[in-house]
Symmetry: C2
Subunit: 254 residues, 2 copies
């Protein structure tokens, strides 16, 4: 327990790439909600983004990957066209939905997040248990990554030559924006579900967890979706190397 | 322990949708390798596939999704063109890489799979712990899903109208085939890594796991990739409802 608290304090104190820039609006709120509890420590995250990447090199290995465009909100056809004019290799348009990583003190804490994430539509969410963590060990550090299958990956240029029409780009941008809206609805669902689940769970900071505290809010594992529209309002730049997935390297610990 | 063994016997005995058809070649070999061990029970899997889907309905909810084409090997432009002629809604071309689900008796078994999966390039792999599984419970049933980010999702038609040229389809098919080749290389890497890791681990069927048996094969968590080319040779049809991800419902247990 003390080890986790120490580690959390260190992480939150240090300047780290995903904190140089203001967190995306939704991720920031979720971070506040979770970091207020002892059992969670948020790590890298992204509300969702549209990217235009230019890749040189043969095959499908990501060699010399350059970012021509990144936006965390609505994307606009003209911006995409402008970005593509700068492409010299194989340009790809990508929509990446919400990604959220959380270090959890106990496996059951990760399970709580996982349950809410899946209910919210983030079906690819999963738990990673650090190599130091064995089931017999008290408080293994676990890691919950919230992910979705709800993406786009569209090759657009080949050796600098645009392979689609402007009309297609307009069509694609429209679809990406729809996906972003649905993505935001899911994040909102996740946030609400998390609030309920945390209130209903045994509070992490009580000394004697004899049983769940009485609460009027009960999180019920539900399949039905609520739909609340909300628009993301981010303005953050991410460098290519700030790949949220690289946070799995956190487990390369002594 | 006995509960897991019983559950495994039941699963492997019953006819289940993903077994109606011959398992993809690679998945079948991996299943043989893992099911020979007490601690693992393979579930749904797919070597990887190219799909052309037709979806009707507004927005991005998957309403009335029809499969126009599915292939688990090399895809051919003419087949894609033929499939698209049948589209009446919004057709999408998808490449989905290797997906592999394994029920594990212990968390450490899932961790072993996870480690090998990530080393093999399947970076989106994760562990799910069933709701019945608490950290204090002996032998929680955990679930390792092997996944990758290495996909394509490309809208091609809008209300039945093709939005790209035949040349673009050719370009896309070429990219999909390259991704499938890389996918197969990763599966092979995963298989080899798994063989080493299983040999090095404490054998699951010994009664007294005092320590790792001496072995000449030692699995070292490695970052370098080996590249072995191998062609998938599958012939399996999957219905839309046979979504490997729906196997997460396995955890809706009493």
């Amino acid at each position: 327990m003390a080890a986790f608290a120490r580690r959390k304090a260190e992480r939150l104190a240090r300047p780290d790439p995903s904190r140089k820039r203001a967190l995306d609006a939704h991720a920031a709120e979720l971070a506040r909600l979770l970091n207020a509890r002892e059992t969670f420590c948020t790590a890298s995250s992204c509300d969702g983004r549209v990217l235009v990447l230019d890749t040189d090199g043969a095959g499908i290995q990501k060699k010399n990957c350059r970012w021509l465009l990144v936006t965390h909100g609505t994307c606009v056809k003209d911006d995409v066209m402008t970005a593509l004019e700068k492409a010299t290799g194989d340009a790809v348009f990508k929509f990446e939905p919400f990604v959220f990583h959380v270090l959890c003190r106990e496996l059951q804490d990760a399970q709580l997040l996982h349950s809410v994430a899946v209910d919210s539509g983030f079906r690819n969410s999963g738990i990673t248990v650090g190599r130091g963590g064995k089931i017999t060990m008290i408080n293994p550090v676990v890691f919950q990554a919230v992910r979705s299958t709800h993406c786009l990956e569209v090759p657009l240029s080949h050796k600098g030559r645009l392979m689609v029409s402007e009309e297609y780009i307009d069509f694609l941008v429209h679809i990406a924006n729809q996906k972003m809206e649905e993505n935001i609805r899911r994040i909102d669902r996740f946030h609400k579900g998390l609030e309920l689940a945390l209130e209903a769970a045994i509070p992490a900071d009580t000394l004697a967890p004899e049983g769940p505290e009485k609460s009027h809010s009960v999180y019920v594992h539900r399949r039905k979706r609520r739909s609340t529209r909300e628009q993301a309002d981010p303005s953050r730049e991410m460098e290519p190397q700030d790949d949220p997935e690289s946070s799995l390297d956190l487990f390369a610990e002594p």
